[in-house]
Assembly symmetry: D2
Homo-oligomer: 268 residues x 4
């Protein structure tokens, strides 16, 4: 038992310094999704045992941009918005675990530290990046969410552009895509502090949204470009065939997940 | 006549490197305004001759946050949004010039270089800052634009917080405020390259919007705090009495202004 | 056993995307240390069981600024310096564990993601911050490392300044301070993915430098100011009495640590 | 005559808000220079009348990285180093004006606002960029300034990498290069606030260092890569033939320049 408090580090007498407060975490955001097919071998090589390729459309990839405002139950962060606003780009594939289909984030870049740390908790493999996406607006030159509207989206990390897309909306859609539509199956890994001792934490966890609301989704098409980098492998998920692109405004709550497997031998 | 091209520097054979293209400049944005009264002497000391205090309500100040997407006539920047999106905080007062009331920006911080340079052109005294304001959103914890909605707004420069406000909307309003509602009377000053030779450029210019569209304005009240800094004097415009706060979504075009006076003796 | 590779996330077929490569990690840097005494109760409240206050000078605190270039054994990062350079400010106290004195970092801010993640591994409670310190230079107005030289150091996070110091060097010193001079005793904590299930990882680890070289240390005195923030508690470690300040250029290698205790019941 | 004070904007009753104080400006820095030859036509097209190609070696280009600490005569900025430290990358060519050889900066990116504004004054066509260069250090893995030492240098703007170099030092050198070794011949241009009225300011100015001290220069060779961008034309200065690379630590004072020509008809 520890006498210090706080959901996350740094733990203190009050708990007020914790880089993220305890869930539930609430999100308002705009999600722009570009779905395409890559060589399924490029997906398979990112799935550690016991995860397997999804049976149907195994090479499907969703490259997702999201522009978020998030907060804890107190909603205090919204009124000091440097602590609430962040943007992210994530590459999502599907996989199969014990016969069930899951989504899985294989790469993700965000632009704030609290988002990096939430990623550690949820098993998102987060790095920092510079993320931008066109925002809809009711006046002036920015697009409305309507047929023909065009949205740009870009990602850079370590001063190199990694991806850019231009999405044109065509018509309302019943969904915002199918690749990122399942519960997430993620690993939480941490090496042992001792060299050669493997992993101190090796968990497969499931999580999803505790609640979800959304506006009308729109579908369209995308021009997507991926760029090489010496430290990133996003471009290995090369575009073989476009599927579609989607735009949707959402409200989401995250409130914990479920442990699927823990490989405790890894800690020894 | 120069053989190089471009509206602004760097000028090249093609003109494509110019940090800003030629006007018209188009803007979509959300504008949050906090109006209050300060000691009119604090306004007067910021008005160089021949500008004078406004006759009515001479101590009125508007501290304005704006979250913009801007572009040239081509709208190309909107699809590479790192080149279109920026945020700003500006302090605006009113003044009188030849019997006419003008608005005048006395301090302004922005977060992109193209915005700094447009400020040179328009006479806004721009510095870089870190600017944040809560964004309205139709889903999740972020506010809708409605009675009771609360928006936070913050400004920092050189790693110091300079201002923060929390605005609560109360009811629809016929206007978005009165302080920043006149044509702007700005100076464009540049020192001579030679020491002791005064100003090479000393112009008083007028400019305003070439076109303007906007949604329903909302009025409310604000908690506003200003903080000291060794290199900023915003806090000298201390709050003596609150007036009101406003929120409005706008679409704006800027397309040049008018020279009011040029002090050419300054260049000699 | 997982088929994916990489010391850290994201794990891939090649391992090349890992946000940090495997240790050893090599560092070149300049370290500016301000030591002072605070109320020992403010230190005690940050020490979870079984850590106890150090017997001698229990209220001693070191606030340390460091300006680093770091790399893996390949040294590749040094030639793409956006991936090697980072700065940090850390607050260090001492504690006692089983009768032995340890140093312990209680707060730390860095300005790059790879440094955040190394912190997860090493038990440093890292957040992102904006960190600056004057650099010595042999020419022009910047200080040499010599008697009378003055160095400024500042820390901000979330657009608020948290600490600033001006250090004046007085004379060579046999050490660079005593607070941050022991092996580190750190916790590695991660909450369970399942709500109400406590910690999935709860380790007390020891680590230190695998090798260390340094130039002549200098001692002097400091003007130190700490500032409040709604999300930080550094200012609770208020200055009761100054001790001294130090400047030193160092070369360091980190190559893993040792598990002191693992509270596995926390994971159940 | 204006009653407000300050060398630059914003002008106030005290002058303390000016984004840059009056010269002299003092600099300490490390300068890494990569010299090469491009097609002289690519240089000629960047030289407005009455500037002409230099007679000797007209296609010579210097791409210069510099890591600065700068301050005013008070040196206050050095103790609040966020206000003193900045980095820049600049492309310099030579030209001939009335039979005399000048250096001329044709592109430049910096990472602080005060440096952007000084550029307006001095005629440097500054944009913001992300600039990094390896720093020499006496300990650990970073290079010493010696034969065989390798320094990396990179430039990005708008989330795209524009240039990267790896420089290997070979031997001491009597100079730090010849391209950036003359007084600068720069234009100071500002469009009229009124559309279609040309330039309000159109000056050709000369400036150089008021005082200069430096350590031993080193020469070596470079691997240099330039990358395309939709808004930058640096890559048009393509490398046809390498010349050499240089490293030097310098102390510099800048204290104004001299007006060579003013095209006042441009203001009408």
């Amino acid at each position: 038992m520890s006498s210090v408090r706080g959901y996350f580090h740094p733990k203190t007498a009050t708990g007020e310094s914790s880089i993220v407060p305890a869930p539930p975490w609430h999100y308002s955001g705009d999600v722009l999704t570009v779905e395409y097919r890559t060589d399924p071998e490029r997906v398979r090589e990112l799935l550690p045992h016991p995860l397997e390729l999804a049976a149907e459309d195994p090479g499907a990839v969703a490259l997702v941009w999201a522009d978020w405002q998030s907060c804890s139950a107190s909603r205090d962060e919204l009124l000091d918005p440097v602590r609430a606003q962040y943007k992210e780009t994530l590459a999502v594939v599907r996989c199969s675990y014990r016969g069930q289909v899951y989504s899985r984030c294989v790469y993700i870049w965000v632009d704030k530290d609290f988002a990096v740390v939430r990623g550690f908790h949820q098993g998102y493999p987060k790095k920092l990046g510079s993320v931008h996406q066109t925002r809809p607006h009711p006046f002036g030159p920015a697009p409305r969410i309507e047929a023909g509207a065009r949205f740009g989206a870009t990602l850079a990390a370590a001063d190199r552009r990694l991806a850019q897309a231009v999405v044109t909306l065509r018509q309302p859609s019943p969904t915002g895509g199918f690749v990122n539509a399942h519960p997430m199956a993620h690993h939480r890994w941490l090496p042992s502090i001792e060299k050669g001792k493997g992993l101190a934490l090796d968990e497969l966890v499931e999580s999803g949204t505790a609640s979800f609301e959304a506006g009308q989704a729109w579908a369209g098409d995308a021009d997507l470009e991926l760029f090489d980098s010496p430290t990133e492998e996003l471009a290995r998920l090369a575009v073989r065939e476009p599927i579609a692109a989607y735009y949707r405004q959402v409200g989401v709550v995250w409130d914990g997940g479920r442990l699927l497997e823990s490989n405790t031998s890894g800690a020894e």
